[in-house]
Amino acid sequence: MNDPDPRTLTRAREGDLGAFEDLVRQYQADVWRFAYHFTRDRSLADDVTQEAFLRAFRFLRGFRGDSKFTSWLFRIARNCAMDQIKARNVYVERVTPIAGTTTDPQARVELHAALDAVSAEHRDPFMLVEVFGLSYQEAADVLGVRVGTIKSRMHRARRAMMDALAVEEEAR
């Protein structure tokens, strides 16, 4: 994801609604996809996305640039997703693969089965790094952990997913 234009960010921090709308247009799709990966529910993802941008608007003045803006925004979105899931006491069923086609439908089903086998603690960094292309530092900023922790969890996620897929292979 690209960084926002510094001038847009400055104006948005000063309360310029037009500049804030530019930020919303630039990042809304990414935030929604992120929310959807967390919640696996379109309606929840809509709510999370709106709440995330509302919180970003409220706290943007206090954004000091210690992390990338996108990391800061994703961190807010993750917190919103966690709050929504807790509030609705939702158990996210993760067995149904996303409908669609790939060159290898079997591989698609296997990936989701493998993701289901991994704890949220390991799945979240895997999604951030592999699907959203964040660096270890950016993922660490989003999740509020150290880079070394991301490194460790990425390894464990891959190992757990491969073990789950190996079990799937044996079961066939």
Partner: protein, 98 residues
Amino acid sequence: MNHEQAERLLSARIDGERLSTRASASLEQHLATCAECRAFERGAYRLREAARFQVAPAVPDLVDQIMSAVGAESERPRSGLRVVRLARPPRRSILPRL
């Protein structure tokens, strides 16, 4: 170097993390003789391909909805407190008039 160490280094390398020259050399030496770790590397790239090429769900356009909520938020007073100024009586000198 054992499997766990090799896998951790492989995982980091796959994600673009720089390894020291020494760690890189040790890893290559281990991979040359360890089929299991070579399989881990192949598996990691397969997972990456599956993760990055999964079909993305259709994303709704929420910009108007979001800006409507933000607009309402921006019109709210910053603080919920009302400041009430009390009318003070004029100061009277406590010193007797001379």
